[in-house]
Point group: C2
Chain length 169, copies 2
DNA sequence: AATAAAGATGACACGGACATCATCTTGCTC
DNA sequence: GAGCAAGATGATGTCCGTGTCATCTTTATT
């Protein structure tokens, strides 16, 4: 499957959810509940993001996590590299192991170009754009026109794990 | 890692190797030896390719496999879809599970465009181009000019598995 | 200082892609 | 048609990305 790892999607969702209360601290448990992500795994992802300086984590009583910068100042590229590492772009589209710099396959230059496009797109797209028309953007959309698409109410009606906000005994 | 599966690379190498004796039957064991691919896994891949009509397999004594069509008539897209299935292109670059057709992420249109480019490139690149300047292409290059780049002799001098033609006790 | 609430962290479990093996089936050669 | 050389196939093993757990560390509150 040609796409970024699922972890990237998790990180973006978590950061988007985190932005809903700007400046304020969110709790990992709470975010996990709202985004329906596995809590312990989310903690790991948040850890990666914190080490890269994308989120600020405050330990101890009354602690929590918050965005370290404004969403406009966080690019998708930074998120991707935080969770997938610097080498997230494969060296050869066709996964040919002997497609090296001095012996390239016919799609090499093409893939280089594509990789550049993707990297550029990720670099210039910010977290603000992601969360704008999607999760919290409903409020903004409502402000513009009272009822336009009317596809607001239904979400998360497709997965096997229904509405359980918490799954501990 | 954003790239196609390793199996795709295996398939391409095997088909390229197979083309070296056009019209003639190659043995899976022999091809596995030459390409340094695991023999049983290669057999599986060849099976997928045979079911999609890309290679012709002849069983029994004096059997073997051969290309079902000329390399010019085999596109990379056909190879990819044979081994990875029709759904090799992820629906969302960022792996956002709720990035559906009516609720798209900011990179959706971009990814659609990129996907189209990749699909088109794979469709218009044929096996002939892959094997041309690479594996068997050395002969062609020599025919044009006796000694041009002079980088002919060195190959496979970069990996950890050196020259072992076979790895059985 | 004791406590409780929060994230950090390393070990472990699971699942699917990748790889291997043993065995079955097929079809040539004689 | 007997024997054998070859691919086909299903069961099994391995590894890494993903997900879970228990425990440790930190810090505000009292």
């Amino acid at each position: 499957m040609l796409c970024l790892s699922q972890t990237t999607g998790y990180a973006i969702k978590a950061l988007g959810c985190l932005n809903e209360s700007p400046g304020q601290c969110g709790l990992i448990a709470e975010i996990a509940g709202r985004t329906r992500l596995p809590r312990p795994y989310l903690a790991k992802i948040v850890n990666s993001l914190a080490r890269k300086g994308l989120v600020a984590a405050k330990r101890g009583h009354k602690g929590g996590i918050s965005l370290a910068r404004r969403p406009v100042d966080i690019s998708l590229l930074q998120i991707v590299e935080a969770v997938e590492g610097k080498e997230w772009l494969g060296p050869c589209l066709l996964a040919l192991d002997d497609c090296t710099s001095d012996n390239t396959c016919p799609t090499h230059d093409f893939w280089l170009d594509i990789g550049g496009r993707i990297r550029r797109k990720l670099a210039e797209t910010t977290l603000a754009e992601i969360i704008g028309p999607r999760w919290q953007g409903a409020a903004q959309a409502r402000r513009v026109s009272s009822a336009k698409g009317s596809t607001a109410g239904r979400k998360a009606t497709h997965g096997p794990t229904a509405v359980r906000p918490d799954r501990r005994p």
